[in-house]
Each structure stands twice: as structure tokens, then as C-alpha cells.
Point group: D3
Chain length 147, copies 6
């Protein structure tokens, strides 16, 4: 799995671990195939760093892209709703990259300023009340299971 890149010695004699982006021009055919699919599906002409770094492990790149394509496609929930859920998770995890990339995706799908404000308010409210429910050791109401 990408073993030849482990042989490149650094100036200090250590193997270099590659986390820099792999550009299209430098990519293997299997990596280019994923890049092509990403650009075609999204109708854009560039690849963002997430995929270009993941490309050091072409099997992970293909697996993650297939899952992403399947999961983020419109279905019982529309694409914008899925992006909002994704952003909520990323905010709680403090993942700056994912907040930036999926905020851009949400904008491309028409997220308005008012929706952004409400998204943030709900995330903040949930985070606050989660802490209260946990800290106050609140017992789950039996009625929730019934409804």
C-alpha cells in the first residue's frame, strides 16, 4: 500500500511520512480515476486537499470516496440538510478543515445567512443542554420509549 514512498530518505536519514497533497499530474491512474469522478460529480475543476492527502493510501481514497458519494447523495434527506448535519458534527469535533470545506459545500447549495444563523444557534443550544443533561445526571423518561 504505497510502500515505495516509505523509502524516500529525509535529510536526517528518516523515512519521510507523506502527508502533502498529491497533485493530479503526479497521481497514479487509480488515484486519477477517483479525482476524475470527484470533479465530474461536483462539476468543478479542482480537487481539495482532503482527497489529495488521502491519496497516499489509494485503497482508503477509493473506499472513503465511495462511502461519501453514497451517503451524501440526496435521498430521504436532501443534500443541504446532510451538509448541515455534517457541519454540526464537525463543529462539535472542532475540525476546522471540515467546517471550512462543508461550509463551502453548503454555500454552493444555497445556504442563506439566516439558515447559517439558525444552524449555529441549534448547535450551541444542543451543546449547552447536552452538558446540563449530563451534568445533572438526568434519568431518561420512560415515556420517550413509548412515543
Amino acid at each position: 500500500m504505497d510502500d515505495c514512498t516509505t523509502l524516500v530518505p529525509s535529510a536526517k536519514g528518516h523515512a519521510v511520512l507523506r502527508r502533502e497533497p498529491i497533485e493530479y499530474a503526479d497521481a497514479s491512474p487509480e488515484v486519477r480515476a477517483v479525482y476524475d469522478e470527484i470533479m465530474a460529480l461536483r462539476r468543478i475543476d479542482w480537487i481539495n486537499n482532503f482527497w489529495k492527502v488521502l491519496a497516499h493510501d489509494p485503497v482508503a481514497l477509493r473506499r472513503t470516496w465511495e462511502a461519501s458519494k453514497q451517503i451524501m447523495a440526496p435521498g430521504a434527506l436532501d443534500s443541504l440538510t446532510k451538509e448541515l448535519i455534517y457541519i454540526a458534527v464537525s463543529v462539535i469535533n472542532g475540525c476546522r478543515y471540515c467546517i471550512a470545506s462543508h461550509s463551502a459545500a453548503a454555500r454552493r447549495q444555497g445556504l442563506t445567512q439566516a439558515q447559517l444563523s439558525e444552524l449555529m444557534a441549534v448547535i450551541g443550544m444542543a451543546n449547552q443542554t447536552n452538558a446540563l443533561a449530563t451534568g445533572l445526571e438526568i434519568e431518561i423518561d420512560a415515556r420517550f420509549a413509548e412515543s
Copy 2:
């Protein structure tokens, strides 16, 4: 702020800290007023434990209810979407109470099995790729700011 309840001695002589639910029959007028609003807005005839425990601090009860009412009301985002965002936050925080209470709320608003499956898939995908983006120290693409 609810100071009289701090004076109840336990069997061991310590002040008892109250985290047990306050029932309607035992509630002060200001607490009952909030309970009444909750039941009226939700068209239900019972109060869940979250509010009944928070009621030991009537000021916090009022403040939290007002914020919740304002934030969770349908606006630029509809109520079900807000519940899904809330559940996503609660799952990442591991708040069992909030997952249970807001799953019940989402069901009342018509969440289908297919929507639940997609919600969970997006949460899982986001959590996975958040870890990859953080672990691989991926640099934010300049293009995200432009779009």
C-alpha cells in the same frame, strides 16, 4: 436561588443536593408557569425530566426554556431539520438523555426509518472524516474562502 432546598439535612448530616425531578404538584408558581407553557406549546400533558430537574434553579429554567422555544421554532430551517442537527450534536457528545428525548421529538414530527438511517450514516461519515482531516493535519484550501 432556591436556597431553602439547601437546608434539608441528609441522614448523614450533609446538605442534600437536589437533582431529583420537581413534580407539578410540588412546583412553585414561577416553575408551574414554565411547565404550563411547555405543555401548551407541545400539546402534551406531561413534563420530561430535563425541565423537572432544571426547575431547582427557576431562573435557569426560564432562561433555558425561552432560548429553546426561540431557537427550535421553525424559521429559515424547519423543525425536523433542527431536531436532526440537535441529535447529531448529542450523538457526538454521547448525551444519552438528549439522544432519547430528541429522537422522540423527531418521531413526533414524522421522522421516517429511512431518514433515521441517513442521519446516522451522515453522522458516522462526518465523524470518520473529521478524524482523518485532523489526524492527517490537512491544510485548509484557499479556494474554500472564495466560494
Copy 3:
């Protein structure tokens, strides 16, 4: 809710989502009213970015400021203790902005180097033993409820 700002088209034709700070000179009367209260209460002549970004949603600005003013005021716990609790939460959440802003607030309230060291030691100890208690699946002692 701040809808007019959603209409500003970007160079690429997308609506621009505003997360940049709103300066006093550019703020609406309702936003200025909150800014004025913040500066008066804190006896300072500037507003930090948190409030200036939140100002894109004036309702959220007012609601968050009112809650903050109420919750962070000295009461049964003094202001410095509240700042330490706030910092502890922010460290565990990895919120760099909040660590910076509330460390500054704690300094203004006289936090000493020795107190800072002890704060960090307790946070670290709690984080370590939280992981041990969770990982070792330790059962809650019945005696805790009695005391």
C-alpha cells in the same frame, strides 16, 4: 433575521455568508445597544470578535449577551471561579478562541501564575482519570448517592 446581507453576491455569483466582524460604526442600533452594554459592564472601550461576528444575528447577539451577563455575574460563585470553570470547559473542547478570551478575562480578575498552574494541573488530572474510569468501565459506588 439579517436577511439583507444574504443578497450580496460574491465575485463567483454565490451569496456571501458573513462571518467577518461587524464594527461599531457599521452596526445597527440594536447591535450598538448590546456593544454599549458590553463596554459599560466591562469598563473597556472595544468589543471582541465573538460579539462582532455574532452580530450578524442580532437576536442571537442579544440572547447570548443576556445569558452571559446573568450567568457569569458573581453570585454563589465569584467571578474568577466562574472564569476557571469556563476555561476548563474550553480546554476540553479545544476551543482556542475561548481559551484566549477567558484567559484574558481571568488575568483581568487577578489570576496568578500559581493559580494558572494549579488550574492546568487539575484539568489534566481530571482528563486523565476520566479516561481511566471510562476505559476500565468502573461501576458507580452506591455510597456516592448517600453522601
Copy 4:
């Protein structure tokens, strides 16, 4: 390190991993020495499960107890303040055991109902605004470094 306990076969032929509490009567002299110190310092006649499970690794038991004793002792911050910081961390981590054990410790040190309410309010407020600051990607004010 406690290797003899790894040799006990289970009914299914697997080595049993011990996470059950080690009672005083069954403890080795080095474990008993720590138990004795805990009971003496806290002026109690029992040991809670955290230490009794950690006792399967006597070196970790001793190391963790020494650190805890050192860090949680009154110093520049008093003991109750340290317990509040500890609880705040435990709430954000969702560690039920640690919330229960340190709430009991805080009660023994005189925590009042009003202080508990304020502690929870600050934790909730911090968790909410942490999410807002992270989600809105707010830039750290240069002035914070000056103050």
C-alpha cells in the same frame, strides 16, 4: 506487573482480564498501603471503586494517587474550587463515574444548591459559546495577548 492474574482461565478458556474491584482483604501490601493513605487523608473508612479497580496495576495505583494527592490539595486554589473544575471537565467528557464521585466530594466540602446551579449554568454557557466560536471560525483578537 500483576502478571499472575493473567493466568486465570475463564470458563471459555480465555485469560480473564480483571476489572473488578480488589477489596482490602484481598489486596497486596503495596495496594493496602495506598488504601490506608486514601482513608487516612479523607477520614473515611472505605475505598471507592476507582482505586479498587486501578489496583490491578499497583504501580499505576501509586502513581495516580500521588499525583491526585498533590494536585487536588488546597494551594493557590482551594479544594472546592478544584472539585468544581474537575466536575466541569468530567461533564464535558461525559464521565458518569467521575461526575458522581466528585459531586460527592464537592458535597462533603460544603457545595450548596445555589453553587451547584451556577456551576452547571457556567458549564452549559461555556459549552454553548465554545461551539459558536468554533463554528463561526472566529479569529482571536490581537488585544487578548496584550492584556
Copy 5:
């Protein structure tokens, strides 16, 4: 996607959201196919609840199983090391189910008491120093990039 189960009305007239385990006897052929693979690969004669609940979304079941099989297989890292990494993540996330299931998996692969103790000690140490590094806002050394 499993839509027929959304039509089952509960006693209260709501659609029932299914999160209960689907037993082999009640499973569709595509679900049984995954169950068969799990039991064959692990040389066991039962399926744990994680898969039986995920089975309400057969596409997610298949996708998650394929990814798990691929990722958890021995490769550049052996299976036990992968289980330890998995447990570390689960402890930090506070996922009780995953700690229990992957501790069982680690035991099946020969985890000793001493290894368990060291695993917990490293997790605790990392969690402690993570908090210190974050709380003290420590700047990343330029030398790390060189090595």
C-alpha cells in the same frame, strides 16, 4: 431503504423507528449474507447487536462490514495493535458499547492483563497531556517537521 418498516404504527399512532436487533431468523437474504460472512471470518456462531441493529439499513450494513473487514485485517499493523487503537478512540469518545465489544475482541486475540494496564496508562497520559498542550496554547516546534 427499508421503507416498509416505517409503516408499522405504534400504539400511539406514530411510526415506529426500529433500533431493536434483527435476528438471523427474521433477516432478509442480503442481511443474512453479511451475518454469514461475519460468523465465518470470526469463527463464531452468533452476531453482536451492533450489526443486528445496523441491519435495518442493509446498504449501511454491507458498507460498514466491508470497510471494517478491510481496515481491521492484519496488515502493516497486526490485529491486536489495531484493536488497541480502536479501544483508545472508544475510550476518548466514551462509547461504552465499543469499549465492551473491542475489549472482548482484544481478549480473544490474547490481550494480557499487563498489556491492558499499559494501554489504559497510555490513554490516560495522552488525555492528560493533550489537555495541558491545548490549555497552555503551546506552539508547535519547527523541528517536528524536520524529523
Copy 6:
């Protein structure tokens, strides 16, 4: 505990809280003793910022270094495995400093590109399935306790 540094007034009249690194030349004998041990054990000629900032609290510096030396030493688990566990925790906590410092440590111990890829894949998989298990409220199988 380091109290003299709290007396240095800033330009604005506040006490300066020290979080900047303490260089060897400026360090007290007790701090230098820890620095010397770190460099000797690791066979390097520099100290990274984590220790240089922690040095403002020499007691914490000594305690943390002793624990780290004890816990991270090869034992029932080898050093590289311990680094991988450490990195996994740091990724989930989003601690950029710790990811950088322990990735460098893992590289020094021979981590290959393929191992890095597998580490990240396992972390991502665990984070995803943790969310699914928590979100779907999956009950722990009784059989896990038996095995």
C-alpha cells in the same frame, strides 16, 4: 510555586501570565535537571516546547516527566505501539501539538507510510462506528462479558 514570575507587570499594569517557553539558559537547576534527563533518554540535544512551557511549574514538570518516562517506556507493549495509541487519543481530542510531537516520535521509531495509513484508517473507522453505536443506542451484548 513560581510566584516571583507573577509579579512582572505588563505594559498595561496586569501581571503577566507566563506561557512562553523557558530556555535552558534561563532555567532553574531543578528545571535543568529534567531537561538533562529528557535529552539523555531521547539522545537529542534540544527540548520541545511542551516541557519548556510546563517548566513554569517545576513540580508539574517533574511529575509529568516521571509519569511519561514510566508509562511510555517499552513494557508489555512496545514503544511504537504506545506512540500509536497516543496519536489516536490526540486525534480524537484534536490536539494539534500532540499529533505533531508524537508523529515525530513515531517516525523516529520507524513508523512506515503503510503503518501511518492503517493507523488513520482504524482511527477513522472507530470514530465512525462509535457514533453509530451511540446514536443507535445499541445495548451491550451479554456475551461480551463471558468471553
